[in-house]
């Protein structure tokens, strides 16, 4: 489920960034991302700080609060996708028995490790991903993350710990929250064994508070797309969510949204600046980004005067339930109430609420071949939601990273035909 693809300066025609109506805050975003990787790289080389690998919606606040630097392999997976390195690396993991039908973050990331190739080299001159001292997962998003981290745990001989979340939940019950809170708390001694330092409750609470503030600000940024015309697009948000993922629980994360991105978006709304010139249609994107095709997709939608205003995906890093007064339980709540861990009825209600907020005219479902967890078209949801909201839906077949599963020509025609339909 994850994040970020790296913004690059060399915006030549083959690069994969969304077309520029550039958001000035992007420079700061880029620096935060670069610093994140430099800091990890330095720690890995010198052993100055302990490094925890964490799933993108894993218990990052606890890790921050215990002094770890946190690395997110899904972020690396997204970079492999965005740089289109993934498709050639996936087969190396396939050949080791990891099926082409499972998460292509997993397969491209393991393939990249086996081949000693990482997009970090070109982007930051960093030779390899940082060696972990511990791997920490939460199965709230899928089982693949556990299998993925298990591969590295075996390889590096470091501990693998995690939280097993209830899945496909409708109404969340207190016993579920208590269970998850307890599981998170149980991580503490295991993590203390890695850091060699006692757990510091105040530091933990501070990380929870910083993460909460980041979330509140990130939500405000996303909700700014409710303005007509929208000041930014889903494709922009896939870049600017970087700090909400990797820097949550830090002061830099808060400052990025508070001092840079949100004011800029608000200013755009005041000035009537449209992300898509002459915005005629507004769409909701349900499912994973197709990382290797962000730019052509952004361009196609823009040429059709269509702004993809919002997505479940970018909304997935809003954890404003976090509360430093009750850190374990509020974390349990935040990481269990997630869209991806919920049942169909909840998900439909959620998208219906987004419909009220973002005023879209249609929904694009991305059926990602290797991620059933984020492909919500598979149990009749487009038909049900289309009827309930009275908006047309379109399903595109593709994948987050494995471009062998994507027929660009077909997708383009489908999108064009969908917009024609909206114009009828």
């Amino acid at each position: 489920m994850p994040t970020l693809y790296e913004q690059r300066e060399d915006d030549h025609p083959m690069s994969n960034e969304p077309p520029k109506k550039s958001i000035a805050a992007g420079k700061v975003c880029k620096k935060i991302m670069a610093d994140h990787f430099y800091e990890l790289d330095e720690a890995a080389r010198t052993g100055s700080r302990k490094i925890a690998w964490c799933t993108s919606v894993g218990p990052a606040e606890l890790l921050r609060g215990m002094g770890f630097l946190v690395y997110y392999p899904e972020n690396h997976g997204a970079m492999l996708g965005a740089t289109r390195m993934a498709t050639e690396l996936i087969p190396y993991a396939n050949a080791m028995g990891y099926s082409p039908d499972i998460c292509s973050y997993l397969t491209s990331d393991v393939g990249s490790f086996l081949q000693g190739k990482t997009p970090l080299t070109k982007a930051y001159n960093i030779e390899s991903v940082p060696r972990p001292d511990v791997l920490v997962f939460n199965t709230n998003q899928c089982r693949d993350v556990q299998d993925w981290f298990a591969w590295y745990a075996r390889h590096f001989g470091v501990p693998l710990v995690g939280v097993h979340t209830h899945r496909d939940i409708g109404l969340i019950r207190m016993y579920q929250i208590k269970d998850i809170a307890q599981q998170i708390e149980d991580l503490v001694p295991q993590l203390e064994a890695v850091t060699g330092e006692p757990f510091d409750m105040d530091r933990f609470k501070e990380a929870v508070e910083l993460s909460r503030r980041t979330s509140v600000l990130w939500r405000a940024c996303l909700e700014s797309a409710g303005a007509v015309p929208s000041p930014w697009t889903f494709f922009d948000a896939t870049i600017h969510m970087g700090p909400a993922v990797v820097a949550r629980g830090t002061a830099e994360g808060v400052s990025y949204y508070e001092d840079h991105l949100l004011p800029e978006l608000e200013q755009r709304i005041k000035d009537g600046v449209a992300a898509v010139e002459g915005e005629r249609h507004r769409l909701y994107w349900e499912g994973m980004p197709i990382w290797g095709k962000l730019r052509p997709l952004a361009e196609q939608f823009a040429s059709l005067k269509t702004c993809v205003v919002a997505s479940t995906y970018c909304n997935s890093w809003i954890f404003d339930q976090l509360d430093p007064a009750d850190p374990f339980e509020s974390m349990a709540r935040a990481y269990t109430e997630l869209f991806i861990a919920r049942d169909e009825a909840y998900k439909e209600k959620y998208i219906a609420q987004c419909y009220e907020l973002f005023k879209f005219d249609g929904i694009v479902f991305h059926d990602a071949k290797t991620c059933p967890n984020n492909s919500n078209n598979r149990y009749g949801m487009p038909e049900r939601l289309g009827r309930a909201l009275g908006v047309p839906t379109l399903t595109i077949n593709g994948d987050l990273c494995d471009l062998r599963c994507y027929s660009e020509e077909q997708a383009k025609t489908n999108i064009e035909a969908f917009i024609e339909q909206l114009e009828e």
Partner: protein
């Protein structure tokens, strides 16, 4: 004066992955000329050639004053187009022209299938294209005909001659080919195999979407294998309508769009 308004001749060019089709209409929406050619690899040349044939049939060889919309996979490779529309839009338009009612269109083309639902005003309610693979398309039939060593044009007659469809189990064209070979070895009669192959095509399209009361079938594969229509009727219990020129539906729809663009000066420009 291609692209300007006030024309009285309207051309639709449908550049499909397998065949390129042209339709020439007059202002009264009468089909004056049409043609179909293999698309080949040089779409521009094929588009010009198919246009020439259709114009000749219309009794106006070499004419260059017309409004043209192109559609299909190679729609942007038609040098003389005034505008483009997707094949989904053009099939809907072409169908509604002949059957002005709420219908579900099943189009079976050389490399893709479409199911399009229209309301009683001809507006699209939704559409689906086949997923990534060739199952259920003309390419599947071609491959199977090749495996059986039967000319494609004989498939329809053979399927009709059978009383028992020998069903194929696999989605995959290559695996189906293997299955066919295995059945030949077991001595299954060729007509039964062909009927099973047709049944596989029909199943693949019917599983794409639900159908509304009225169904129209279009596309080159339907045009040359009308037994598919009988099969869909039998399986669904619905009457299935077929346009006079099923293979030209997209091209006719494109020509009708050309007419609309001509009528209302706000065309969308070359795309």
């Amino acid at each position: 004066m291609i692209g300007a308004n006030n024309h009285d001749l309207f051309v639709g060019i449908d550049v499909g992955a397998s065949r390129t089709k042209a339709a020439v209409l007059d202002a009264g929406k009468n089909l004056l000329g049409h043609a179909v050619l293999r698309s080949g690899t040089d779409f521009e040349r094929t588009a010009s050639a198919v246009l020439e044939e259709a114009l000749a049939m219309a009794g106006m060889p070499g004419r260059d004053g017309f409004q043209c919309v192109s559609t299909g996979y190679g729609r942007r490779n038609v040098p003389f187009r005034g505008d483009t529309r997707t094949e989904i839009g053009c099939h809907a338009k072409g169908c509604y022209h002949e059957f002005p009612e709420a219908v579900t269109i099943i189009d079976i083309g050389g490399q893709d299938n479409k199911v399009i639902k229209l309301d009683d005003r001809g507006r699209r309610l939704n559409f689906k294209m086949n997923r990534k693979c060739a199952a259920g398309t003309g390419a599947f039939l071609e491959e199977m005909a090749m495996r059986l060593g039967i000319p494609l044009e004989e498939m329809d007659g053979l399927a009709r001659a059978s009383e028992h469809a020998e069903e194929l189990g696999s989605y995959c064209t290559v695996f189906s080919g293997t299955e066919v070979l295995e059945k030949i070895r077991r001595g299954i009669a060729v007509p039964d195999l062909v009927k099973g192959i047709f049944l596989s095509v029909v199943k693949r399209v019917l599983e794409m979407d639900s159908l509304s009361e009225r169904v129209v079938m279009t596309g080159g594969v339907v045009a040359h294998n009308l037994y598919l229509v009988d099969m869909v009727q039998e399986i669904t219990g619905r009457e299935v309508l077929v346009p006079k020129h099923p293979q030209l539906t997209g091209a006719v729809g494109a020509a009708l769009f050309a007419m609309e663009i001509n009528a209302n000066t706000s065309g969308r420009g070359n795309r």
